[in-house]
């Protein structure tokens, strides 16, 4: 069964057609990837799925339910957790509090007005921090972490929402090759352990080939090619439009 299905999705900004009528399916339990040069429309696609922007046309189905244009909090509650291309965390909270706060929202304990904060989700938060390799920095302010650590913290935040589908927008942006490899392993490990489905965008082709079941290649808001890693590697059209690029932008 498909956990996520997109039909004829369309979005333009002024004259720019950012997403030009896309169809896409993510099978339950898969780790799939979307690649494409800067400006291809990958982030916009995520923004449409997660409710950041309203869609011009088309529908989005999650676990068979129509979620098109629901408010972002609803979509998050239903089980889609997303990270942002430009890392999005709570910079003036500690690393630990970033995760704890997320648990409080997600598990509906945020309205406890007079209880002692220490009694809530301490263990759960520590477990997540160990999983994403940040347990030693638990007490530090999130804003002073290195770029790669911030990305992993955001992954931790997303995991703490208890999602069924992860949408990760360039999860290794700004990381060294070694960090990148570690992070990809981490995502794979977590997805398998928690039986999550993942859809992520990437720039670095080699990264994608090692992990994705299914790859969709985008350019100018449309799908250029889609298939198994080997098919994509062999596809000439993809090589032409894509292989010039190798940087992500954190604008």
């Amino acid at each position: 069964m498909a956990i996520l299905e997109i039909k004829g999705l369309r979005k333009s900004f002024g004259g720019v057609m950012a997403v030009a009528g896309m169809d896409l399916k993510v099978e339950d339990g898969h780790i799939d990837s979307i690649i494409g040069p800067n400006g291809a429309g990958k982030s916009t696609l995520f923004n449409l799925i997660s409710g950041y922007y309203p869609c011009d046309e088309g529908r989005v189905f999650f676990k068979g339910q129509d979620i098109t244009d629901l408010p972002p909090q609803k979509i998050a509650k239903m089980g889609i957790g997303r990270s942002f291309q430009v890392t999005n965390i709570f910079p003036k909270l500690t690393v630990f509090e970033n995760i704890q706060a997320t648990f409080l929202y997600t598990r509906g304990k945020g309205l406890k007005l007079f209880s002692d904060l220490k009694k809530f989700f301490t263990q759960e938060a520590e477990e997540i921090l160990s999983n994403v390799g940040l347990i030693d920095q638990a007490g530090e302010l999130a804003g002073i972490l290195a770029a790669g650590d911030r990305k992993r913290l955001e992954l931790g935040i997303v995991l703490a929402t208890g999602p069924d589908l992860l949408l990760l927008d360039e999860p290794t942006c700004g990381m060294s090759p070694k960090e990148t490899a570690n992070t990809i392993d981490l995502i794979k490990e977590i997805a398998e352990k928690e039986s999550l489905s993942v859809l992520f965008t990437e720039h670095k082709m080699d990264v994608v080939f090692g992990i994705a079941f299914h790859i969709t290649v985008m350019n100018f808001g449309s799908i250029i090619a889609a298939g198994k890693p080997d098919d994509i590697r062999a596809n000439e059209k993809v090589q032409q439009i894509y292989f010039g690029e190798n940087r992500c932008s954190s604008k």
Binding site: P91, K92, K112, I157
Partner: protein, 325 residues
Amino acid sequence: MQAERKNSAAKWLYGAITALVLIILPFVLEKGFSEYYLYLATKIMVWALFAMSFNLALGYGGMMSFGHAAFFGIGAYTCSLLLVKTSCPLPLAFVIAPFVAAGAGVIIGFFSVRIKGVFYFATITLSFAQLAYILAFKWRSFTFGDDGIQGIPIPALISTDETYINYYFFALIIIVICIYVLWKIVKSPFGLMLRSLRENPERATFVGMKVENYRLIAFVISAFFSGIAGVLYAFLETAISPDILFWSMSGEVILMGLLGGMHIFLGPALGATIMVLLNSFITSYTEYWGMVLGIALILIVLFFPKGVGGLMLEQYQKWMKRKGV
């Protein structure tokens, strides 16, 4: 573990010293100086409560309300009107007033919490507060208009006719309880929610938080405690006028928050102390209090973005570090 125990021992010590000072202070002021200083000390406490209540919205909730005079004033007016116009007993009037202020908080908050941007938030809250001011000013038959309410009947037990001592302790107890409750709120899961949404409402939304709901609740709690401060103010002055609803009152409480440090729990109380003292001494020299206020605001925002409290805390931490090394 040991450090923690040492820390908590230090906290108890500071707490005990503060309590002792607050208990002895009124006698020292009365015997050593004059009743006026005792009145001033009480006034500082009342404003400290107002500023700390307000800061739940500004410092913790990230909401720049320019209309908090409304809640202060509505608290004061509700209690005073009940006492003057009905046979409502004082304890009941005291309890009803903050709930009416909170009710006003629900209405004003409902329209403002979804508004993005400091300027727009300030503008809409200011507009509502000015509406309350005009109501109090124009609706003579109900509010006595610009005559205000004189001679609010206060029982002998806390009367300020002869001495402010009794009232000082009455206000102290209520304010300490309120500050304790505010402290619990700030340190609760809800407090962390507030800080996180102040930091990054977008991230909060995308983990599933209904940001407006949390903002509204914080705003209403803030209004509630501002209402209590208003009642205490009315009893202290035994007379009120529509001036306590005027925008300059909202401006003063903002200034207290910024001056003391809005990201420090007791910061606004420090700001209140400085402002009340400055106000009472400077106004005896100059009529240009408003101008002094404006200049002070500009200087603070430019040079002490963390407030006097923030500055002191920084120095203290530096000093502790040096001592530790």
